[in-house]
């Protein structure tokens, strides 16, 4: 039995070594205040975009995300959909790397995008708190969420098996 417990302890650690490293880095980053501060404006760009006729604001928002390659911001929450003073659709799309503020200029057939990028520390912070209950429109984030959920339970398993090994070895 002890051999099996040792094996489980070792394999759980090997499978989730990088996740545990992320947890440690996030803890240290939070301790030194590396996560404070807003995401910085990285760039502003425009891209051609035509919304389908009779689309709802939410459908347009999701279409915009796919057009500009921002699947990490899917699904778009209702709170992210607004209109500016000129009546243009204004999207505040939050995701693991920060957020994109998108103005849909339908009459001009384009979108204007402001890209705000968070720090690497903040990126790791979001990753460490993303678990299986999170649903994303991007398969990579869903895969990460499930793996991180697995890592969280592995941490519990390693504590339990570690105590077992210690007690058995005394």
């Amino acid at each position: 039995m002890l051999g099996l417990v040792k094996k489980a302890h070792t394999y759980a650690g090997l499978l989730t070594f990088l996740n545990l490293a992320v947890y440690g880095i996030v803890g240290l980053s939070a301790s030194v205040g590396a996560m404070q501060g807003d995401a910085a404006l990285r760039r502003t760009f425009e891209q051609p975009f035509t919304a389908s006729a009779n689309s709802s604001d939410k459908q347009v928002a999701e279409s915009v995300c796919r057009t500009i390659g921002l699947t990490l911001a899917l699904p778009v929450q209702s709170a992210a959909i607004q209109h500016d003073a000129d009546g243009h659709l204004l999207l505040d799309l939050w995701h693991v790397n920060g957020h994109h503020r998108v103005t849909v200029l339908e009459s001009e057939g384009k979108v204007r995008v402001e890209e705000f990028r968070s720090s690497t520390a903040r990126y790791f912070d979001v990753l460490h708190m993303t678990t299986a209950v999170f649903r994303s429109g991007d398969w990579r984030m869903n895969a990460w969420a499930w793996y991180n959920e697995f890592a969280m339970w592995c941490l519990g398993l390693m504590m339990l098996s570690g105590v077992w090994i210690w007690v058995a070895g005394r």
Partner: protein, 189 residues
């Protein structure tokens, strides 16, 4: 060398076990809130304080001296309706509205039980806390984070020295690392 590293791994793990347990339990609670639904218990009270207190910090200090609230001053704001501030400790927060003209402070206390306390501890980090419990916990959190990295590295060494587990372990470590690094890098670039 092997014995020394094994001792470091074992005793660091044992020393941080209570903290890691708090992080593990609170992580599960926060990730799966629907498994243990909880509603904060709120209570309200009215307290007479000195008039014309200067700011939220002064209001919080007087309330703390009286024993009406306890914890860290998290938020303070002043406006035409008076001064507002929030004082919190793990699991308990008090939202205070104070009128400088009358000296009356309305206190709404929200108690979120042990699950709320664990969640608050999980999020406690940094060295700027004035509330002693949070300051001590935050220092411990920094140490635990560093030790977690040490546990990972020492664990790698201990595994590598076990020749019987080397091949299978290498397959698991490589597969997991390639997959995780691909996800982390491809989502960031």
């Amino acid at each position: 060398m092997y014995r020394k590293i094994r001792a470091v791994h074992r005793y660091c793990a044992l020393a941080t076990l209570p903290f890691l347990l708090v992080y593990f339990v609170s992580a599960v609670l926060m990730a799966h809130r629907t498994w243990w639904p909880s509603t904060p218990v709120k209570s309200t009270g009215r307290v007479q304080l000195s008039k014309e207190l200067a700011d939220g910090r002064a209001v919080a200090q007087e309330l703390m001296k009286r024993g009406d609230v306890d914890g860290e001053l998290l938020f303070t704001a002043a406006g035409p309706l008076g001064i507002r501030c929030t004082v919190a400790r793990p699991g308990v927060s008090a939202a205070v509205s104070y009128s400088p003209q009358t000296g009356v402070a309305d206190v709404v206390t929200s108690q979120r039980g042990w699950s709320g306390a664990l969640a608050d501890l999980h999020k406690t980090a940094g060295f700027a806390y004035r509330y002693a419990t949070l300051r001590v916990w935050a220092m411990a959190a920094a140490a635990v984070s560093a030790i977690l990295l040490l546990l990972g590295l020492s664990g790698l060494y201990l595994w590598y020295r076990q020749t019987s587990e080397r091949r299978a372990g290498l397959v698991l470590l490589s597969a997991a690392s390639v997959a995780i690094l691909y996800l982390m890098i491809s989502m960031r670039v």
